[in-house]
């Protein structure tokens, strides 16, 4: 039997910073629009709390983190749970590449925020596709 693992997309919570909202929106864009069959998410709060099931998810499945500020909460919490992100994305880097997109509000993304989220989601989707094209893991080894 073989199984394909979904890529876990873990954004930071970022309630105090606009880029936290951008990362969250990028995650939903992946799960609902771009990669609905190959991605999933887990609540970052559950990782902070130490929920065993949530920790197992980021340990056992390929994980991509999205962080909104240098505190890198998503990356740190995934690693504290024993996970090893296969890729780490920062919303800040999207702004560095797209200087015209200025997002000033945490609660309302606006056109700039949604565009930033779209760009980020597409970059991450390319990474997800790369992982998904890899041969699935054999859960039972056959012996000859």
């Amino acid at each position: 039997m073989t199984e394909s693992k979904r890529v876990m997309i873990v954004p930071c919570s970022g309630i105090g910073k606009a880029y936290g909202s951008v990362g969250r929106e990028a995650m939903y864009a992946l799960l609902e629009d771009l990669c609905p069959d190959t991605t999933d998410t887990v609540c970052l709060s559950l990782l902070t709390l130490g929920d065993a099931e949530a920790q197992a998810q980021v340990r056992d499945q390929p994980t991509i983190t999205i962080d909104g500020c240098p505190s890198a909460c998503a990356k740190v919490n995934v690693e504290a749970a024993g996970g090893k992100p296969m890729a780490e994305f920062r919303v800040y880097d999207v702004y560095r590449a797209h200087r015209e997109l200025k997002v000033r509000s945490v609660s309302e993304l606006g056109d700039a925020g949604r565009e930033m989220a779209r760009i980020l989601a597409e970059e991450i989707a390319a990474k997800v596709d790369e992982v998904s094209r890899q041969p699935p893991v054999n859960s039972q080894q056959s012996t000859v």
Partner: protein, 146 residues
């Protein structure tokens, strides 16, 4: 580096003892015959993560309060004025590739530019750390109440 610290609401702000300051929250420090300048910890925290730094050309002369460096953070666009009159001798080119240095190490690797002063009296007139600290704290408290 030795610092003074103050707490305002939920934030800690550091003031380097060996720098001088103005009321625009810019630090200045004598380095041999030059004056190095940068953002204070208060200003970098208030402004957010720096994403772009537009550095001036060296050789340019300017007066105190003339525009020196333009910064874009994830929150605001900032124009930093020269705290003293002088000629720009050096700029911190590392900030083009690593603007985060302004936030990570505002008094050290995050320096902005070095000036050759026209008049050292400008530098001497800046505030020392002990005088600057309470004034900065008052501005931070006002900011908190906005």
């Amino acid at each position: 580096m030795d610092y003074l610290e103050t707490i305002v609401d939920k934030f800690v702000f550091r003031v380097a003892r060996d720098c001088r300051y103005n009321d625009a929250d810019i630090w200045a420090k004598r380095v041999n015959d030059r004056v190095r300048v940068g953002l204070t910890d208060f200003l970098q925290q208030k402004s957010g993560d720096v994403a772009f730094v537009n550095l001036p050309s060296t050789g340019k002369s300017l007066n105190a309060n003339d525009a020196l460096v333009a910064l874009e953070t994830i929150k605001v666009d900032l124009e930093i004025a020269a705290p003293i009159s002088g000629r720009i001798i050096a700029v911190n080119d590392a900030l083009t590739a690593h603007p985060e240095l302004v936030n990570d190490d505002p008094y050290g690797e995050g320096w902005l530019a070095e000036l050759e002063p026209s008049n050292w009296a400008d530098y001497d007139a800046l505030l020392d750390a002990e005088t600057y600290l309470p004034q900065m704290k008052a501005r931070a408290e006002l900011e908190r109440e906005k």
